[in-house]
C-alpha cells in the first residue's frame, strides 16, 4: 500500500511535470519529451498499482502499459516526421 502510493505518486508527479513542460516549452522536441514523460507517469502509476507485495503482480496493467509504450513511440515517430517535413520547408523555422 505504502509502496504503491509512493511509486504511483511518483507517476503523478511525472505526469504533472510533463504537462508543465508541454505547456511552457515551445520546441517540438521538448514538447515530445514532455508528452513521453507524461505518458511514462501514467504507465508508472499503472505498474505501481499492479505490484502486490509478495503475490505475483497483476498482469493486466502490465499489458496495458506495453500497449501504451508502443502507441507512444508510434506517435512520437509520426510527430518527428511531421516536424522534419516542416524543417525541410522552412529551414530557418
Amino acid at each position: 500500500m505504502t509502496a504503491q502510493f509512493l511509486f504511483g505518486g511518483a507517476g503523478l508527479v511525472l505526469f504533472a511535470l510533463g504537462i508543465w513542460s508541454f505547456l511552457v516549452h515551445e520546441p517540438l522536441l521538448r514538447k515530445l519529451i514532455a508528452l513521453n514523460i507524461m505518458g511514462s507517469g501514467v504507465f508508472h502509476l499503472l505498474i505501481a498499482t499492479a505490484e502486490r507485495g509478495d503475490l505475483p503482480p497483476d498482469p493486466v496493467p502490465h499489458a496495458l502499459v506495453l500497449t501504451g509504450i508502443v502507441v507512444a513511440v508510434s506517435a512520437t515517430a509520426l510527430a518527428l516526421a511531421l516536424g522534419r517535413r516542416l524543417e525541410e520547408e522552412d529551414p530557418d523555422g
Binding site: A3, L6, F7, A10, V13, L14, L17, G18, W20, S21, H25, P27, L28, L29, R30, L32, I33, A34, N36, I37, S40, F43, H44, I47, A48, A50, E51, P56, P57, H62, V65, L66, I69, V70, A72, V73, T76, A77, L80, G83, R84, E87, P91, D92
Partner: protein, 96 residues
C-alpha cells in the same frame, strides 16, 4: 532490511524524478534527449524492481531505445541547424 529496501526505493524514485526534471528543463536538445534516454532506462530499472520485467524490457528497448534514437536524430538536426543559423548570422554580421 525493509528499511533498507525503502531507502533504496526512495533513491530510485528520487533519481527518476531528477532525471525527468533534468530532461524537461534542459534547453539543449541533444542533452535533453540524452537525459530522456537515461530517464527511460532508469524507469525500466524501477519497473524491474516492481516485478514488471516484460514492460521493463519493452520500455528499455522501445521507449528509451528506439524512441530515444528517433529523437536523437531530430536533436542532431536541430543542433546542426542551430549552429548553421549562428554561422549564417555571424557571416551576415561580418559582411555588414
Amino acid at each position: 532490511m525493509t528499511h533498507l529496501l525503502f531507502v533504496f526505493d526512495l533513491v530510485l524514485l528520487a533519481t527518476l524524478l531528477g532525471l525527468a526534471v533534468a530532461a524537461l528543463t534542459s534547453p539543449d536538445p541533444r542533452r535533453a534527449v540524452m537525459l530522456f534516454i537515461a530517464f527511460g532506462l532508469w524507469l525500466a530499472l524501477v519497473w524491474a524492481r516492481l516485478k514488471a520485467p516484460d514492460v521493463a524490457l519493452a520500455e528499455a528497448a522501445i521507449g528509451a531505445g528506439l524512441g530515444g534514437a528517433l529523437m536523437l536524430a531530430a536533436a542532431r538536426r536541430a543542433a546542426r541547424r542551430g549552429t548553421d543559423r549562428l554561422k549564417g548570422r555571424k557571416s551576415g554580421a561580418d559582411q555588414a
